[in-house]
Structure formats: structure tokens, C-alpha cells
């Protein structure tokens, strides 16, 4: 198995995530898409660590950090969603258009 495949997989995942973030109407959907992007980064890190820099484990460490931070982000995001849902009764971002101009 060569590195290119992993990188290609990661790129695909990343772009799918980007596409989802740009197109999902639901905030949670966007959040999920962003998680995909984080995972793409993690695949990269693990793959590079294995193939290019097998001497250390910095790649994996980084991935670990990213996982935990993504978790924190999801927590904050979901609580925000809850708060705003309570106020506005919607999870569709188009409806958030008080602020413009």
C-alpha cells in the first residue's frame, strides 16, 4: 500500500467535508461535515507519520490533539445549537439573517 492512496483518501474526505459544510442547511449537518474535514487531517497525519517520518510519533500526537479539540468544538457547537434553537426554533442557517449589511 503506498502513501498516495492514503493522501488521496484524505483529500477526498476533506473535499466531501468542504462540500457538506457549504451545502448542508442544517447547522448540525455543517458541524458533521466539518468533523469529516478534521478526520481527513487525521488520516493524513497518521499516514505521513507511518510512511514519511516513522522515526517519531509526532503525527499521531497531533492527530490525538486534533481529536480532542474537535470534540471540544462539537460540544460547544451543539450547546450553541441548543441555545439558539431554544430562542429561534430553527436549526436552518438561512433563518439566521438578523445580522446583515
Amino acid at each position: 500500500m503506498n502513501l498516495g492512496s492514503y493522501v488521496a483518501l484524505s483529500a477526498a474526505l476533506f473535499l466531501i467535508g468542504v462540500f457538506g459544510a457549504l451545502t448542508r442547511r442544517n447547522i448540525i449537518g455543517i458541524l458533521m461535515a466539518i468533523e469529516l474535514m478534521f478526520n481527513a487531517a487525521n488520516i493524513n497525519l497518521a499516514a505521513f507519520n507511518r510512511y514519511l517520518h516513522p522515526g517519531g510519533i509526532i503525527g499521531q500526537t497531533l492527530a490525538l490533539f486534533i481529536i480532542s479539540i474537535a470534540a471540544a468544538e462539537v460540544v460547544v457547537g451543539l450547546s450553541l445549537v441548543l441555545a439558539i434553537y431554544r430562542n429561534t426554533d430553527t436549526v436552518y442557517v438561512e433563518d439566521y439573517n438578523l445580522l446583515k449589511g
Binding site: 457549504l22 455543517i30 438561512e94 445580522l99 449589511g101
Partner: protein
Amino acid sequence: MLEHVYLIPLIPLFASLVILLGFKEDPHSPAPYLGLAAMGWCLLQAVSIFWGVAGGRIVLPYEASINWFPLATEVAGKAFSYQMPIGVLIDGPAAVMLVVVTLVSFLVQLYSLGYMHGDSRFRRYYAFLSFFTASMLGLVVSNNLLVTFMCWELVGVSSYLLIGFWFEKPGPAYASKKAFMTTKLGDCGLYLALLFIFTKVGSFQIDQVREFATRGYFGMGAATAIGFGLLCGCAGKSAQWPLFIWLPDAMEGPTPVSALIHAATMVAAGIYLIAKTYFIFLAAPIAMEAVAWIGLITAFLAASMALVSYDIKRVLAFSTVSQLGFMMCALGAGGYTAGLFHLTTHAFFKGLLFLGAGSVIHAVHTNDMRSMGGLSKKMPITFLTMLAATLAISGVWPFAGYFSKDMILESVYHHSPVMFYLLTAAALMTAFYMFRLISMTFLGPDRDHEKHHHAHESPLVMTVPLMVLGLLSVVAGAALAHDGFVERLLSFPMPQTPGPEFPRALGLGVSALVLCSLALSWFLYGRGDFSIAEAVKKRFSAVFNVLEGRYYFDQLFLGLVAVADGAAKLAFWIDARVIDQTFVDGWGLLMRVFSELSALFDGLFIDRTVDGFGGLSSDLGTGLRALVADGQVQEYLLYAAIAVSLATIFILSR
């Protein structure tokens, strides 16, 4: 006496300031006596100088000056500091002019005591008069061309103020502006000439410029340019063709003012200036010739216009213009002495004519000669003095005008016989219209009984000046011409030019023709029966219309004014609509360009995308066009994603 000659202009100036600042406005103000006293002092001083010159006790020229301000300059690569000396230069013409100006001023001020009596702005009138005299005297005595020019402008302003003295009436207000602007038009040329002179010479002092010119340093081109510039100024000030239009209108001012400024002194300043800068014209034959021709044209045209006018002051105004043309022509033809001589005598008899006309107007309260007639019995002094002046201006022997006019014709004949004949025609017309004036005013039956009834001889303060001037009109010519005095006094060293000698017989012939012209005039207008004159007028109505329309030069100038106004409007339109819009709203333009760029971006990039995929509503495009206006977070994300894709595209090149 001569070392205090600088007092001559300064005293009236001082008097004028004192009158203006020190006295209250009051119809019975004592201020005029101050002005009169100042003038008297100047007159005494001027006469004593003249007497000294005549008696040979004073050697001319006399010059004295002080430094005015430093002017760091550079001429022909040599830098130096010009100290701008200003002061007095008394030579023959100046000595004569001093007497003429102070005398006429004094007499006019005396006369005005009666004429302007009771005017609500009596004090101001005298202040202005004194101010004028001061400026005029300054012009006469100055040894510095810049100061001459300054005084030149100041007499212009005095003239402006005095023409518009009765400013409540729209006529004087307009006429004063017209006079100022027309002369200012000419002054532009003078201004340039001065600039040119200084650039060449590095000095404004007349003797230095003269030295420079006589050595031929100017060069033909420069001298010609300067000469034309000077001529331009002089044509404006001395009301020469085509700038003479202002003088007839200037008659809106009080009549003594007309006598002083627009007959005797200020209008002569142009002639005087040409005489003062004669060396430049000698170096520029083309300019010299132009002087002669302009003088000739003026003399002829103005005389012809005087033939048909019924306003007594207008006739005199045209006459003045015509006579100034004579002088100009003489100077241009090389008759330096003749021109200045005529200037002197003309000052006396034309001043007299105006003052006399003023006396008549004072009596009948009208300017229209058709409402006059038969005043000779009511106003004998006025009649007699004016008659003397008329004969003088017509050039009848032995009156003053004869000598000077004869001299002019002589020098013009010497220059060019063609010019002589034309000038003679003008002289004949002069005799005709002057006697027409006398005839219509004083002779024949009275045509307006009421006016005639109320008419009476003027008070002594007004008639005394008439008599003095009348006397001078009779004797001045002969006295000055006696024993070649005038040639000694008013001469300019110049090379003899070849030309035909003036035959004596021709002179006699002219005199005879003048008498015939007088007679014809009497025949047409003097017998109280205008039928023949009317018939002639009907027969040649086209000619008369042109003459009464003053050859339509006024219209020409009004057209010029209209053009200037149009240019002004255009300029302002450009300013407000084009330049302002461009440069200030270029601001707005910047904004517009920016928004259009973003619209372009949408059009090129987004809309294409949208179209390419088809079936999508245009929401996306409009959303983007507003850039961020819509507040849609996924649009923001889209831009971020675009940035990412740009980054990936960017690395393709590496």
C-alpha cells in the same frame, strides 16, 4: 522752487485725504476751499517753474529721486538689485503740462464752487477732484515708468469715481464702469509693454530706458512690441480708435469733471505718455506709423460723428476724441512739438468749451441743443468766450488753435500728403460742427421758450474761469509760438527725415476752407431755419444713421462683453459640472468602480457557474452581488473555500 517740485502732486493728495477723512459730509462744507487753496499753491509753483524756464533761469531737465523698494533682478545674465528709484523728472513738456494741469484744475475747482453748489456730496466731489489732480500731476512729473503707470491707473480710478459721481442714476454708474473697463483693456497692453521694458532694460527710469533705446539695444522686434503695447494703453486712455467708445458715455459725469478729466488733462495723458516714451517709437517705425494712422482714423471718424449729434456735451466729447486724434497723428508723423503744442492749446479751449457748455446746461437744464437757441443775449459772457474757443478749435487766425493745428498739418504733410488731406478734411468738419454747436445754442430764435425764459448768466465763480480760459484761447497760441519758444520747450532730438516741404499757400488754402466751412455751418444752422439741414439729412439718411450709430463700435464692444460673459458662464459650467464632478465625485467613482468590479466578478465567475450548471435560480448570483449583504453564513464559508481552492491552484505553479 524746483527742488520742492515733488510737492506739486503731494499737496493735492494730502488735501484730498484731509478732505475725505477730516470733514463731514455737508452741502455747505468748507472743504472745497482747502482743495482750492491746495490747487492755488500748485498753480503758483507750476507757474513759477514755467516762468523760470521761460526766462532761462531754470535749466531743464531736472531730476531727483528716492529709492522705493529693492527689486532683485537679473538682466542679460547679470544679477543686481534694482532699488526702484522714484522721483520727479521735469523737462519741457512736463513744465508745460504742469501749468496746464494745475491751471485747468484750479479753474475747474473754482467753477465747481458754483456748478456743484448744494450737492449732497460736495465734500467728496472735491476730495475726488483733488485726488485726480494729484494723480495726474504725478503722472506728469514722474521719472519712473512704473510710477507713471501707477498714476495712470489712479487717474483712471478718479475718472471712474467722478463719472459715477451721481451713482444713484443708472447711467453714470454704467458709464463709469464702461470707461474703466475700456481703458483697462488698453492698459493691458501698457502693462505688457512695461514688463517687456523691464525685462530688457532692468530699469524703469525714463532716462535709462531712453539711453538704452537710443543706443539701439532694444532691437526692432522688441521695440515694436513695446511700442504697440504703449499705443494700446494710450489708445485706451486717450480714447483713440477703436477704444474711443467710453468717452461719449463718460459725459454722464458732472460737466466740470468732463472739462477737467475728459477734455483737458486725463485724456491727454495718452498723448503725453507717447511723447514721454517717444524714443521707443523712434526705434520702431512700424509702431510709429501705427500711431499716426490710428490718430488719423480717430480724428476723422470722431469728427464725422460730431456732425450729427444733438447733445451739446456729446458733440464736445467727439470733438475731444477728434482733436486727440490730431495730436496722435502729429506724434506719429514725427511732429513731436506740434502734438504737444496742440495738447496745450487744446486743453485751454476744450476746457473752456466744456465749462461753457456746463454754464449753458446749468442755465437751461438740458443737454439737447434742439431745445436751446438764442442764448447769446441771455448769456453774453458764456457766448463770447465760447465763440473764441470755437474759433480757436477751428483754427482761425490769430486764435490759439491756429498755430498748433497749422503746425500739425505742416508736420503731417511732411510725413505723408495723403494723411494731410484726410486730416484737413477732419479739420474742416471740426469747424463745421463747432460752429453748428454755437449756432444751435446761441444764435437764431429760442426754440424752447420756457427754458429760454429761465435762462440767465452764470454767477461770477463760473464766468471768471471762462474768461481766463477765453483769454488763453486767444493768446496762448501766439504767445507760445512767438519766437520759436515752443520749439525750444517742446522738442525731441530726432533724425531729420526726408519729405516734402509744406507749401505756405496750402496753409492759406486750408485757412480759407475753414472759413468757408464756418460759413456753411452758419448758413445751415445759424439762421434759425433748419430746413436745408433736414433735407440734407433726409437725402443721406443712411450715412446719418451710421454716424448716429457711432459706426456701431459700441455694439462691437457689447458683443465682446457678451462673449466674455459667455466664456465666464462656460468656464463656471465646466467647473461645477465637469471638474468638480470628476475630481470630487471621482470619490464616488471609486466606489462605483469597486461595486462594478464586484458585479463583474459575479457576472464572470458566479453567474457563469450558475448558468453552466443550469436550472439554478439566480438567488446565488444576487446573493453574491451584495457580497456580504445577505448575512448567509454559508456564503461566507464559500468564500473561505474559494480561498482554499485558490491556494491549491496556486501551488500548481510550484
